[in-house]
């Protein structure tokens, strides 16, 4: 069955440090991959998406992610985090192509310490 695993429930980093949030998916077909962020008491905001082509995709606010097919991974990275990046980050895979039907991971709570 298709699934998304975010192995780290919570990540704490210091402001200015680099960040990697891990995501692995299980899907035999061609994945469409997404990262969303949820700020407190808000909905989901799209950070970036991967459909095909260059495996490194750039997103908003300095975030990027790399699709590694051999590892079934789509880790999110940022070179230098800011306190305002504190939020919950969700990795998702579209299992029916480009239809908007997503399977989400459980999310990773990022806390950025000043």
């Amino acid at each position: 069955a298709q699934s998304v695993t975010q192995p780290d429930a919570r990540v704490t980093v210091s402001e200015g440090a680099s960040l990697q949030l891990r995501c692995k998916y299980s899907y035999s077909g061609t994945p469409y991959l997404f990262w969303y962020v949820q700020y407190p008491r808000q909905g989901l905001q799209l950070l970036l998406k991967y459909y095909s082509g260059d495996p490194v995709v750039q997103g908003v606010n300095g975030f990027e992610a790399e699709f590694i097919k051999s590892n079934s991974s789509f880790h999110l990275r940022k070179a230098s985090v800011h306190w305002s990046d504190s939020a919950v980050y969700f990795c998702a895979v579209s299992i029916t192509g480009n239809t908007g039907k997503l399977i989400f991971g459980l999310g990773t709570t990022l806390q950025v310490q000043p």
Partner: protein, 111 residues
Amino acid sequence: GALVYQYPRRTICKSGTSMRMECQAVGFQATSVAWYRQSPQKTFELIALSTVNSAIKYEQNFTQEKFPISHPNLSFSSMTVLNAYLEDRGLYLCGAGQAPLFGEGTRLSVL
């Protein structure tokens, strides 16, 4: 730019009553709308996927009888939670479009 609005943002209903939530796509055509629920301490569960001119597809554990959805045009969708009980509480999100844009959600509390 493209945005998705959901309303109400927050609602409280008595156990056994129903409530309707709405989703409006602005600046783009929402050929598909997916409704999700985020229950407390959980991730997002897909309730159903609605594509204009196609039948609405409900996921396992969710039914049309409980969560009827309307998607009459490319900018609007609504979903009703019928006969709501405590287990229905949570944040309901609609995601519109192929790389879904989400609204702020409707947070449902049930008394």
